[in-house]
């Protein structure tokens, strides 16, 4: 009886005690604000006014808000390409650098990792100096060679491509490190056996690396998707969401509606929709990967 009680403590209570501080922080800073946000989304509320309950009016307005749906489409476009390119680019970098076979590999790892240490505001300012139409370094060089310059940030499509490219550049180093850890956890014997059996590099990648890297891929997929949905600083600094609405994402629109238009309730409704989308994507990603892992 006594032993059983001690066992219960070790198996259930002790882990709970260790988790408690984190759960408290999570509850206070994530759950409580999320619930508050949900409550606010049913109100009409400015910073200096009392909230007034309006039921689903904010969500009804959202359904017919053309700017919101434009930012919604932009967010999906930005997220899809950013996540896809981050996955490919950071995995490629990790594949090149996880075996210590390249001379100066540590230096290269540092070079690729450093951008992820910088604040996105600094990254945005630096790239605006590089890509700016009139004052940008690239266009300066193009004009020196007799060209007219490229409208990197003032043409809608090019501006979106530019912010995706810079986002991938800035974040891939971080995900490269996660992939390197995943790759190094794959037993070398499997590669040796496959090589002895005459498997090509492509077959090794498809049959050994990719399946054993699935859990790492899921982590990178989920983290980069969430990060892409929340992208704010880089875009604000580089394009301010422009030209027009071309690079404006939901997060920028939430900020504008909440703090510039003073409509906290409506902005909360937008945030709720954003949270739902992120949750939905995360669940789908977990489901797909979980199903595939279950089949194996």
């Amino acid at each position: 009886m006594k032993r059983g009680t001690k066992g219960n403590f070790h198996q259930t209570l002790a882990p709970m005690l260790f988790l408690l501080p984190n759960m408290l922080i999570f509850g206070l800073f994530i759950i409580v604000p999320a619930v508050q946000g949900l409550r606010m989304s049913f109100t009409e509320w400015g910073v200096f006014t009392q909230p007034r309950f309006v039921g689903l009016a904010n969500f009804r307005e959202l359904a017919g808000d053309a700017v919101f749906w434009k930012t919604f489409t932009n967010t999906l476009t930005y997220s899809f390409f950013t996540v896809l390119l981050i996955m490919i680019y950071s995995l490629a970098l990790a594949m090149m650098m996880h075996k210590n076979t390249i001379k100066g590999e540590q230096v290269f790892r540092s070079i690729f990792y450093i951008p992820s240490l910088l604040s996105m505001i600094s990254v945005g300012i630096a790239w605006r100096f590089i890509l700016g139409d009139e004052m940008g370094i690239i266009n300066y060089l193009i004009r020196l060679m007799g060209g007219n310059g490229v409208r990197w940030l003032t043409d809608g499509k090019l501006a979106m491509m530019s912010i995706i490219a810079v986002s991938v550049w800035a974040q891939s180093g971080y995900y490269m490190v996660i992939f390197i850890a995943g790759l190094q956890a794959i037993p070398n014997e499997l590669y040796e056996a496959a090589t002895i059996d005459g498997a090509s590099n492509h077959e090794i990648f498809r049959s050994i690396t990719l399946p054993l890297l699935k859990s790492t891929l899921l982590v990178v997929l989920v983290l980069s998707t969430i990060a892409s949905f929340k992208a704010y600083e880089l875009i604000t600094v580089m394009t301010k969401g422009g030209p027009g609405y071309a690079t404006k994402l939901i997060v920028q629109q939430v900020y504008q509606v909440a703090f510039l238009e003073d409509r906290m309730g409506y902005a909360s409704a937008m945030s709720m929709v954003l949270m739902l989308i992120i949750s939905l994507f995360t669940i789908i990603q977990f489901k797909i990967t979980g199903k595939e892992q279950g089949h194996e």
Binding site: F48, G132, E134, M135, L153, G242, G244, L260
Partner: protein
């Protein structure tokens, strides 16, 4: 015994009185930490610090807790502090911010004996901005600002144009002809004019073309008017013609940097640019000129203020600091040291240079219609200005017509009035 009791009582009373006096003295000298929210938008820090030093010397029991915030984050920070019930004791505010936080400001009326005498010390436009709906004076003006045009004189000279002379009477049509000659005469100059990427600076053109944001009694949005539509069409025209760089309104490049780099012949910006260009421009001569005439000549008034808030913890000390910033000596010192327009009527400022440039801005300000200040102090207009900016860009991109853009603004804006 009786005598001893009386003496004891007298001694007791004296002791009490001495201690009471001591307590009062100690209360007056009680250490106070004054929270001050601040932003810098130029080279004015040094001058401000001198004023603060003077105040601290006169009030040694006060310590300043300065929070200097980037201007881009300033409004949000201030609004959150106010709504959280923890406003700063003192804050520096612009006309834009003033329109948003006006109801949270502690009226100066409650802290001075003759408020009318205080008001009379300042420029009428500044008093108008700092007066709330109840007629209370809620902020000390520290500087007046105006929008106007600064030009690259060297570039005009190269084209053989005496810009000081032609600008006395020029219209926007004449400007277009002239500026094409200027660009042609200067191989490295790519554009004629850069306009700051803000609705406030855009409104300089809007007012000149006879447009407006609100109806006559300021009770509703009325962006849909012939003057506004003309302005939008003209603005698109000069962008399409390549006379104005697309990189400012479509790519948020800094027009002051383009001007300083010698890439544009003119810049419509605020009077604070005189200070910036005085420091930074060394490669060419520049000057302020009267803006070309549209339907009328106009500038846009603005300014910066210092204010305290309802519920601020140290209001007495806060109002002393504010008064120090707004007094004649410090106002003149500030205007002279930072190349700004003083907010006081009685200020006598002799600038080390550029006096003529200030005169030009002031001349534009003098002919500016009074309703422009009323529009820019309207709290509801401040909520729609970002959307207005987006709709202007949509017109420039050709995504909507000028007529559709003004209808969109009126439709959205009506919800705020």
């Amino acid at each position: 015994m009786k005598k001893a009791t009386i003496v004891t009582l007298i001694l007791l009373m004296l002791t009490t009185a001495v201690f009471a006096a001591g307590t009062k003295e100690a209360g007056a000298q009680k250490d106070v930490t004054l929270s001050v929210l601040w932003f810098n938008d130029g080279d004015e820090s040094e001058v401000f610090l001198e004023t603060m030093d003077d105040y601290l010397k006169a009030n040694p029991h006060v310590r300043l807790d300065m929070q200097i915030i980037a201007y881009s984050e300033y409004d949000q920070k201030l609004k959150l502090m106010i709504s959280g019930g923890n406003p700063p004791d003192v804050a520096r505010i612009t006309t834009n911010t003033l329109s948003v936080v006006v109801d949270s400001l502690e009226p100066i009326d409650n802290h001075v004996t003759d408020i009318e005498a205080v008001k009379q010390q300042y420029l009428p436009s500044m008093v108008a901005f700092a007066t709330n709906d109840k007629g209370e004076f809620v902020a000390y003006p520290t500087e007046a600002t105006a929008n106007g045009m600064l030009v690259n004189k060297t570039a005009f000279d190269r084209a053989g144009i005496d810009v000081a002379e032609v600008s006395k009477t020029w219209t926007w049509d004449e400007w277009e002809t002239i500026i094409k000659k200027v660009i042609a005469a200067n191989p490295t100059m790519r554009y004629g004019l850069a306009v700051d990427f803000t609705p406030h600076r855009f409104s300089t053109l809007l007012y000149q073309f006879g447009g407006h944001f609100l109806n006559a009694d300021q009770t509703n949005i009325q962006f849909n008017n012939p003057g506004t539509i003309d302005t939008l069409k003209w603005f698109k025209h000069v962008h399409d013609e390549g006379l104005v760089p697309k990189s400012v309104w479509l790519g948020s490049e800094n027009p002051a940097e383009l001007f300083q780099a010698g890439l544009v012949a003119g810049h419509i910006g605020g009077s604070w640019n005189i200070n910036t260009y005085n420091t930074n421009v060394k490669d060419f001569e520049w000057m302020a000129v009267q803006c070309p005439k549209g339907v009328i000549n106009s500038s846009v008034p603005g300014g910066k203020f210092i204010a305290s808030f309802k519920g601020a913890k140290n209001q007495d000390e806060a109002f002393k600091l504010m008064a120090a910033f707004a007094d004649k000596q410090h106002n003149e010192q500030y205007a002279r040291g930072t190349f700004n327009i003083p907010s006081r009527n009685d200020a006598e400022v002799v600038y080390p240079s550029n006096s003529k440039d200030f005169e030009v801005f002031l001349e534009d300000l003098k002919v500016t219609p009074a309703f422009t200040a009323d529009e820019w102090k309207n709290t509801n207009l401040s909520k729609i200005t970002t959307y207005i900016r987006e709709q202007i860009v949509e017109v420039l991109l050709g995504n909507v017509t000028a007529e559709q853009a003004v209808r969109n603004v009126d439709q959205k804006g009506a919800a705020y009035f």
